[in-house]
Amino acid sequence: MTEPTNFLDFLSEHHKLPSFNLPTDAVSFVARSLTPTGDEQIEVKMSNGLEKALTQYSPGKEIIVKKKTYMSGGLYLDFPPRPTMEELEPLAIPERYNARVNSVIDRFSYWFKKIEDDSQDSTLTWHHRCSTKSCQHTLESTRPKSETPEASELCEMCGSGVFKTIPMLRPTGFAPLVRANDGSIVDVSQRKNTEYRITTKWPTQIIGAIDENEIKFGEHLELRMVSGKTLVNINPGKGQIEEEDGFGFTFCKRCGSLSHDDLPSEHPRPYAIPFQDLNFCGIPADTDEGRAAIRSFNERRIANCDHNSDPSNTAIADGGELHRRLVLGRTFVTDVLVFRIPWDTDDFVSMDPAKGSTNTSQISALTLLRSLLEGVTGDTSLGLNISESDIDGDIRRYRHEGQEGWELYIFERSDGGIGLLQALFQMLRNRHQEFDLDNPQNFPVLGRALERLSGQNCTTQVPDATGKYITVRKRPCKHICSGCLLDYSTQYMEKDLDRTSGYHFLLYALYGEDFEQRLGTTMSDDQKNLHSLIQRLEGGETAEAVHGDGSIGVLNDGVEADIDLRPVTHVELSNIEYTVASPLLSELPETSFSRDVLLNNPEQILTSLQQSGAVASPEDLDELPP
């Protein structure tokens, strides 16, 4: 190190400080406005750990303090850097005064210059992510594209994606926008763009490869523990990775304003500029040059910031390329527990579905991850007392020796980790011999996830003979429900979860290609829906729902209702068996239909049945008497 650095900052930046219940990377939200007399007024000053601040204070987010609503609109610096004596000395007096005025009007101009010039500064790093929505493989390098040759190549994970390189800024603080003319906070009700990303969880990626010290469960499920892994959290704004011009925030390097959309040339700053800011600038009021500088300061402080669409104010340059958007983010080091499960490339639906198609592969992996997270935090018998605030998780794709699949990873949220996952891994390793494929329900974490995903905890409303809805327990729900996976931590990702897909993926992980034989009657309601569909078709009226043994679901104690709780195994029409298949399977025989098609595009089933002659074709229908 050549530059003197604050020792505590050094320890914090290198993840050497214990952060359990002690945020070492506090980020503030400061509402700096003016009093009617033009003096500085700090309306709000509060802080949070960087992980939470990335979502709770980021642009577009509404923050309510003492019944007043503020909306974050940009970055904030308590003490903006000012020009050094070395920089000022060569300048003539008017330019010197001008530089000083600039530093208090454009509080971020010197700050951006400093972090761009210092290649070792960890405030500004780079993020390289595959722009294919279904892939989003992230490169380990945090260096710019000009120093990351692999960022210019096709993504090796999906084989077709192009990397998107974007500057990643570790924010120093956040602030609401302020009206320049009177120094008041911009009224939230006048802001049009109130969209914001409420979580940073989705883009989290493990950076780099992991070691081979796995323990194996069943046919395909491998569990690994990795310590000291670097993860990254980013807030990319409201845009999606595949959007050309939407991923990240546009920014003004003069005032630190951030915007999800294109930031207008003239815009309010995220801070007010009181008269006092000129103090300590060393500008005398008794010289012509001094008076001119003060006049300039007074004019500019009540005018909006204007970046003039000049790339030097609105872009970060690298190797001749200009980057007009950035993401807010942080890297942190922690312990990670990784569940690796291969995806059957030959027989399962593609991991890179066509645009607009359901990404069943990703949904099943994410669903399984959420159930494993619940298995860790909800199982008190583990004795580890791991709470939801201690851990989080996400998924990423892997590719290894002719195999591809998913890595479902759970990480400790405390910087560096405090050993919770290490203890859990040790416990699972010690009890590994107890794992019994014929009775996996008894094994910690996995057993609980399996039970939850199988629908044993679901609660479903089923109409009785009179049409009245009756609560049935232990009957697998259609999508996700509060009995299985829906809670406050998953409600924002409800559309990305599907209990059935997750269940089948876990069964595949444990039993391999035989997983279909383990489904039992858990898809009974899907077969029932298929029966209803076929029966409504011309020529399909004689279709029969074939029932299996036992019952699916139970009524609450004391409730009596006329409900058929027999499971349906398949539908029979003209001695041909028709079924709804697992959503994971891609190539289906003519008599089997995808669950996705049944739920979202039943017309395709109609066409297929018509083409095979199982039900009346449109030509036949034309011939029917009116």
């Binding site: 077709s160 050309e244 030959d346 639906v349």
Partner: protein
Amino acid sequence: MAQPYGAAPPLVSLTTSIDSTSAQADGNLRHALMEFYLNTIASEDHTLDGKQMKAMAKGENWDKLYQFLESKNGPQCPLGNFSQLDCRKKLKKLRKTVNFLSKYLQQFGEIKHIVAELSLNTGSAIQISDSVEIRSGEVDAVFVLENVNGGITVVVIDWKRSLSNKRSLEQYKRQCQVYIRCIQEKPSLVNQSIGQMKSADIRGCLIEIGGDEGTIPDLVNVDNNPAKIEDFLEKAAERYESTESTSGPHCSSWCRWAFADEYCRSITSEVLPINFHSDLFWTELEFHSKWIYSLTQLTTSIDTVLEPTGKNVIHFNNGRELHLKNVNFHRAIPANSVIRAEGSIVRKTPKLAHMHLKQIKVLQN
């Protein structure tokens, strides 16, 4: 078809670093995998079965397939990345086509002969009309089938990665017609006698080998009317000698003259499947929200700056805008410049379209 023209070089030449090689390699690999399956597996028992194809890239079979692909791979025919996993992914798509084709061919009887990548280089030219002779070329696949009455059907197939843009298929249909003529003139290519071929029903079709999952592969029949083929061959011979811009099919980056220094002069905006200057592109539903890969040519109406991370907007009349993506160079292009560009195009609204550039060249400014 597009042809070379020995005139002055273009004034400005710009090419983005991302060229068409990845798409080309992907197409080559699909063709190679199909060739291996048809020539070494399907031709053994004269059946088409997706399961056999699935086994091609597994276990011991993989070594054989890998060696074949390695022998095919080269500067003339780059296959791109052909790792086992990539091949399995490609084969999954091809299996769908094989199963579809198996059903489609059933109507013509039993398969008697299968050949893929059939070479037309027989040592002597094949005279297919008074003015046209063919000395080289490869037919993607030919199936000879016999029905219960002894009737012979010959099906000539051209594989296509996508058939979504029906307007751009004309040249492929013509190509297929030429293949049909070659086989008719030289039946020994498909183990048939002249007599057998005379009585045979010969058909041509373009078949998709890469559609989306869960969809049925697209098939486009090729017109086999002898009079029409004759007419086309006559016109093609005339056009080959011409330097005037002409209507009819034009190539894309696959044609080495489209972006060459001495570029093809017979291409104009009007003759290409997508014409940004016409109302058709901005109003027809078929262009809306669907990615279409195409060669285009346009004239700028105002001064335009193309730069990385810039907006890169080309303006047309009625407030219509084309946003160019993947621009990795800086260039100021004056008004009234003629630009030839190729890439994936999508019309987002009646006033806005995006184009992901693969190649671009300023022809004239």
